[in-house]
């Protein structure tokens, strides 16, 4: 019995899977743009079906479960392979397929000259499929397959240009860091199965909702889930992989490491919001981890010189905002920021890709400048995204960031203060990036491809997605206009139909307080932008190296030495232990033991082979002796 609705639900992940399999299998046969167009068409179909599902959503059935087959059925364990269609998964599906489609289109242009373009699109489609599995799964285990799937695709795509060893290391680092978080997720699943006897979201939330607030089991489970989320969403302390992940092609950075995959952790927390709502202790931790990460990312972003690194740390910082929102129970605010961030951060990355493309691979912003006149579309869209992320009204970033800030203020003014400071830093590093790239004079020496006279604008196939995203970045705020502006919190109302936890949020602030908070953050940000203009607006010279800077600046420029700290804390002791285990365990115990066993067997064989004389009578005699011995043993029980 498959209803039309079920069929539509199955089609959404089926298209990208089909694309991954077909393009992957025929990657050597597909010439030119065929793979790109095929992959784009399939993800676009997926988006169309998602949109149909969204438009024809029945109000009478807020949560629809589509069971594909009975997946695991062992003893008391009963786990179906099923998809859950509700407001939350639908919203994520729209983001994943919608942004995914735009980035696929962009990739056709960006990856045009790459010899492995078909492989790229196969992996990109596989990623879309995994991500859809992640958001659509009706239980933790199906989500977990998607969770691991996106991790795998992330690894593959970071190391897409595998001939450069550093890129492979970056992929490996992302994979290992994510595994640390995954341990938390697996343990959380085991704990929940132990407690509830099921992993279905609906059942877990129903049973969990009846437990007391602060139940130690719920607190442990949510902490473990959050550990998983920190790994995937690059929060402290598991964030160092995300900046390195920029080794991948730029569309990958836009899709996986900005718009979709890294928001999986937020999705997971929102999905389990009922449980998190019952664990105030965990929520506090989430809030402060989010705030600390927002500040960390924003500070490090200040002095980065690689255009993609700046954006990477910016992503880390914005993810921190989202988690801060979750920490104060403002789930819809978090999801709203996920949405708007997907718009403007994808736009920023694609714009950066366009700039890199224009300069023939140059990524150092110190060697850019003055591109405003040359790459007009890129400049305009990049400007829109920068203004949006800085949080200037009425662009989308303002509304989502304001929602988070207001919710945080109601809960903890200190956290609010830190987040506003981080917002100022955000404005600083983003406008520094904008000014250094597009304003002033061109400072590069540009090793451009042959036949290219100077920086040039990207083809239409790349600029059209930029324009679409720019429009979305501008109007995205309309999704969730708060009451204070005469809006109706549409997204919040929509998402509230998905789970009990969403909607019961945000201590209401008085209108005057809200106006004041908005005015404060906006004016501070505007001030910062003006300051940034005075510093970088007309810059023609290069920045100095970190060595010339004062201590704090040098520390920040070196990313708070976090990588060095991890190397010192984990890598060094591990290498030391490994070296000594090799010296003692391997060379003194394992090798003598194995080699000794072999030598003993050889010696015994050398000696015993003399028995094989070839004399039949002797064999018979041996047999008889054996039988007699066996008889004696049997009869006398020796």
């Amino acid at each position: 019995m498959v209803s039309a609705l079920d069929l539509h639900v199955l089609m959404v992940p089926a298209f990208p899977l089909l694309g991954a399999v077909v393009i992957g299998a025929m990657r050597r046969k597909l010439k030119g743009n065929t793979a790109g167009i095929l992959g784009t068409a399939l993800i676009a179909l997926s988006f169309v079906v998602s949109a149909i599902l969204f438009l024809h959503r029945g109000a009478d059935e807020p949560t629809h479960i589509t069971t594909l087959f009975n997946w695991i059925h062992v003893g008391a364990m009963d786990i179906p392979f099923a998809f859950q269609l509700d407001a939350l998964s639908l919203w994520m599906m729209l983001i994943v397929t919608g942004i995914g489609t735009l980035i696929h289109i962009y990739s056709i242009g960006y990856m045009h000259d790459d010899p492995r373009v078909a492989t790229f699109f196969a992996q990109l489609n596989l990623f879309s499929f995994s991500m859809l599995l992640l958001v659509m799964g009706s239980n933790f285990l199906v989500t977990f397959i998607g969770w691991e799937g996106v991790g795998l695709c992330s690894y593959l795509l970071i190391g897409f240009w595998y001939t450069t060893p550093e890129f492979n290391y970056a992929g490996r680092k992302a994979f290992v860091m994510n595994r640390i978080g995954d341990i938390g997720m697996v343990l959380a699943m085991a704990l929940m199965f132990y407690q509830f006897g099921t992993l279905n979201y609906v059942d877990v939330m129903k049973q969990g909702g009846m437990m007391a607030t602060g139940n130690p089991l719920i607190v442990t489970a949510t902490l473990l889930l959050f550990l998983g989320a920190t790994g995937k969403s690059a929060q402290l302390p598991l964030l160092t992989w995300l900046p390195d992940a920029m080794a991948g092609p730029t569309p990958v950075s836009a899709l996986i490491h900005a718009a979709t995959m890294v928001t999986a952790g937020i999705f997971l927390v929102v999905r389990s919001s009922v449980l998190f709502q019952l664990a105030p202790y965990t929520q506090d931790i989430i809030l402060w981890v989010g705030v600390a990460t927002a500040l960390f990312g924003a500070t490090v972003g200040l002095f980065q010189n690689d255009i993609k690194k700046v954006l990477a740390y910016s992503t880390v910082s914005q993810l921190g905002y989202m988690f801060a929102a979750l920490g104060v129970g403002a789930y819809s605010a978090g999801m709203f920021h996920v949405t708007t961030h997907a718009f403007f951060k994808a736009l920023l990355f694609l714009g950066a890709g366009s700039v890199i493309h224009a300069l023939g691979g140059e990524q150092d912003i110190r060697k850019m400048g003055g591109l405003k006149g040359v790459t007009k579309t890129t400049y305009m869209t990049f400007l829109v995204a920068t203004v949006a992320i800085a949080g200037i009204p009425p662009l989308s970033g303002f509304f989502s960031k304001d929602g988070i800030l207001a919710s945080t203020f109601a809960e903890s003014p200190l956290a609010y203060g830190v987040l506003v400071f981080a917002a100022m830093l955000t404005a600083f590093y983003m406008f520094r990036l904008l000014f250094l790239t597009f304003f002033g004079t061109y400072r590069g020496t540009a090793h451009l491809p042959a036949g290219q006279a100077g920086p040039h604008e990207s083809p239409k196939v790349m600029t059209v997605p930029l324009m679409v995203l720019a429009v979305l970045s501008v109007i995205g705020g309309a999704l969730n206009i708060p009451h204070i502006f005469g809006g109706h919190d549409w997204l919040k109302t929509f998402l509230a139909t998905a789970a009990d936890g969403i909607g019961m949020e945000r201590l209401e602030l008085s209108a005057s307080t809200e106006w004041m908070l908005m005015a404060l953050s906006t004016s501070l940000v505007l001030l910062t932008i003006w300051y940034t203009w005075t510093l970088f607006g007309k810059k023609t010279t290069l920045d100095g190296e970190p060595a010339d800077m004062p201590f704090l600046k040098r520390l920040i420029a070196k990313r708070w030495m976090l990588d060095e700290l991890y190397a010192w804390l984990f890598e060094k002791p591990y290498s030391w232990i490994s070296r000594h285990f090799f010296g003692i365990g391997e060379e003194k115990i394992a090798v003598p033991a194995t080699v000794g066993t072999g030598k003993a067997a050889l010696g015994l064989g050398e000696w015993l082979r003399k028995v094989q004389t070839g004399n039949t009578s002797f064999y018979l005699f041996g047999m008889m002796v054996g039988v007699v011995v066996l008889l004696i043993i049997t009869l006398f029980g020796v």
Partner: protein, 110 residues
């Protein structure tokens, strides 16, 4: 008819069957161990098998259990097959070494 055979077997005490069987088996075994002529060795093997047969039949009669006699048929069958193989080896040995000395078989080692 069958009863008569059983009765006839029971006329001789069981000990005598045991002793005879033991002697036949020992002769067979010693012969198989010490003789080098492969024909003799095969004959000795048959002797050993048949001593066991004798014992099985005797016990079968004394215990009124036909199972032992059925086992005898199996052993005879196996003995026939075994002798077929053994004689084939004998023929080949004769052809290759122009003799029937079983120790010549140690050449197979190399």
């Amino acid at each position: 008819m069958m009863e008569n055979v059983m009765t006839a077997i029971r006329l001789v005490p069981l000990d005598h069957y045991l002793i005879l069987s033991f002697l036949l088996f020992s002769i067979g075994m010693v012969g198989a161990l010490v003789r080098r002529n492969i024909i003799i060795v095969i004959m000795c093997l048959e002797l050993m098998l048949n001593s066991v047969n004798l014992l099985l039949v005797a016990f079968s009669a004394y215990h009124s259990d036909p199972g032992g006699q059925i086992m005898v048929f199996f052993i005879m069958l196996v003995a026939a097959a075994e002798v077929t193989v053994g004689l084939a080896i004998l023929v080949l040995l004769k052809r290759n070494t122009n003799g029937v000395d079983m120790n010549q078989l140690n050449r197979l080692k190399w």
